[in-house]
Amino acid sequence: MSRIQIEGLTRRFGQVTAVDHVGIDIPDGDFLVLLGPSGCGKSTLLRMIAGLTPPSDGRILLDGRDITHIPPRDRDLAMVFQSYALYPHLTVARNIGFPLRARRRPRTEIDSRVETVTRVLGLGELLTRRPRELSGGQRQRVALARALVRDPGAFLLDEPLSNLDATLRTATRAELTELHRRLGSTFVHVTHDQVEAMTMATRIAVLNRGRLEQVGTPSEVYDAPATTFVAGFIGSPAMGLLSARLDLVDGGLYARAEGVDLPVGPGDPEDGARQVLVGVRAEHLALVAPSTAPLRGVVRLVENLGSEEVAHCLVGEARLTVRGPRPLGLAAGDSVGLTTDPEHVHLFDPGSGRRLVRTPTPVTAVQS
């Protein structure tokens, strides 16, 4: 049971800042997913929590205790590595028992703990095998068992599913979620896979170039992305973004650009003539007659997903994707008209890329 607080954590490698003043409060029992593209600093951040990489700046607190300079073995954290790092010369049983053996626990206790953990994870018949005799999925389970065996304060998982095939990954995702629910421990899971993040996390921290873009529940991150990066990174296909100018007509705001005349809801005089980035998710776009449509463009590509189709359209210079049941009745080269509800329109500041939200008073759209 552990709460992890990260304050202003920074790591520089020479001139490169891999992690830049990241602060996250991970409450006890949270399943936090650190999500971002490769090179965003998520693994470095996890390694700093684990104590494998010393931070250049900032603090890490575990249940209020400053562990920034405590060696990994005294941190009460368990980690599952992307490579699993199973000790190749030891049997499965010895691998799983290793954390207890290192802590000089009595043989009988080690045996019974290993027995319990392997029963839970269904590894019973593999105990005498060596890691090289195991499949990828079995190795992943042994790595998990080794983390579970000593009941740590928190689990750190570094892309543990990335070496599994698609079917196994889906199954293991569900198992990890179930394990988290049953244990109630704190999990910190690093991944670049947004599906993993959306399905497993209680909260997602999106990182980009070492900076924290947004922390929130999967719904918050999906429904109200704080930045254009989050908007583009989460969701498949990615949210289309087009730059437009706001116009106020009779108290209603319209986003206007080439091929765009889209109502985005009520507004105030201060909002008029403002440059914005307009984002709409593919599933919130609907097809309408091109002549009168608020968004007018040309279809460039239609992708068949089996149950649905995704049409990539060019509106002005921006790419928008529309998703709907198959068949959409569109083909490449067709003129297309699109519309959406104002409530599904996301507005971002083009300079900072940050989300624009409505504030009740004073009646202006401000940067969040």
Binding site: Y87, P88, H89, R132
Partner: protein
């Protein structure tokens, strides 16, 4: 009416053998052996032919003069070899030499290798260069410098130690000197092999062990050393098989196997038989016995190395 979907029809397979003429195919099968041929030819000329000749010479009495006849003597050379006291004592001294070299080829390199992992960047390169340097010194040149250092009157070694030992003329010190100088010479090679072995072990294991609660000492004992064991068996094999050869140029320069045979190991002995006593048959017989003996030991160590080697993934 329902009909089952016809299975996917694969395009007909064209019989490639029918198209190609049989002749180029036979040449094609030969190609790998043709590539091997130069190497095999060199092996045959420089290794297998001399080996066979050694076997032949071990059954004759011959004084190496091309003009004098080689007289067949059957097993007489072998009988003589086993009755001569030199043979047993040379074996014993070879064992002492091997045991004496193990600290230089295994213990010190492992300690140095583990410590050196904490040295990073340019310092590591400089340090590796320094450790490796003795191997680049020609053994005979090195021996000449050591002879000077070990001089009983004005040598630096006696001055530093404050002793008056006649290093190369007393049996015990002479053997010790040969061991230490050979060890100094091969240490760099062994350190390099250990460094390569350590570099082959990914940091993930040590990091995982650190998070699992292992201390630095436990990680070394439980993770690093077991994973390094194939490298260590390799070094053991090299030491056992090559110790006598490594020391040969030093013995030949510094002690000539003396004093009173105190530094004569098996290789020096058979060389002495052949090229000092001009008893080619006896030298060849000793060579055959050592070849077979070392062959058995090498086989055992190779088996051991297969057993301890860890197939990572």
């Amino acid at each position: 009416m329902l009909a089952t979907l016809a299975p996917h029809e694969a395009p007909p397979i064209v019989d490639a053998t029918a198209v190609r003429s049989p002749r180029p195919r036979r040449v094609g099968a030969l190609v790998p052996y043709l590539y091997l041929l130069p190497g095999l030819a060199l092996l045959a000329v420089w290794v297998y032919r001399p080996l066979t000749q050694t076997f032949q010479i071990s059954f004759v009495s011959w004084n190496l003069l091309p003009t004098s006849p080689a007289r067949p003597v059957g097993l007489a050379n072998y009988e003589r070899l086993f009755t001569l006291p030199d043979f047993g004592s040379a074996l014993g001294r070879t064992a002492v030499l091997i045991l004496g070299l193990l600290p230089f080829t295994i213990v010190v390199p492992v300690v140095v290798g583990l410590l050196a992992r904490r040295v990073r960047g340019r310092a590591a390169t400089v340090y590796q260069g320094l450790v490796f340097a003795p191997l680049l010194v020609a053994p005979v040149a090195g021996a000449a410098v050591w002879q000077w250092l070990l001089d009983p009157r004005s040598g630096a070694v006696n001055q530093i130690l404050g002793t008056t030992v006649n290093w190369l003329q007393e049996p015990g010190p002479a053997q010790l000197a040969i061991i230490v100088i050979t060890g100094w010479h091969v240490l760099g090679f062994a350190v390099l092999v250990v460094a390569a072995g350590l570099a082959g072990i990914t940091d993930d294991y040590a990091e995982a062990a650190a998070l699992d609660g292992a201390t630095r000492g436990q990680i070394t004992r439980w993770i690093t050393l077991p994973m390094l064991s194939p490298t260590l068996v390799f070094l053991l094999l090299m030491t056992v098989l090559l110790a006598a050869q490594w020391s040969f140029p030093l013995i030949d320069t510094l002690t000539h196997g003396g004093p009173a045979g105190a530094t004569t190991n098996v290789y020096y002995l058979l060389w002495d038989y052949g090229f000092h006593s001009f008893d080619a048959g006896l030298g060849a017989a000793a060579g055959v016995i050592f070849f077979l003996g070392f062959g058995v030991i090498a086989g055992g160590l190779v088996w051991l190395s297969e057993k301890v080697s860890i197939h990572d993934n």
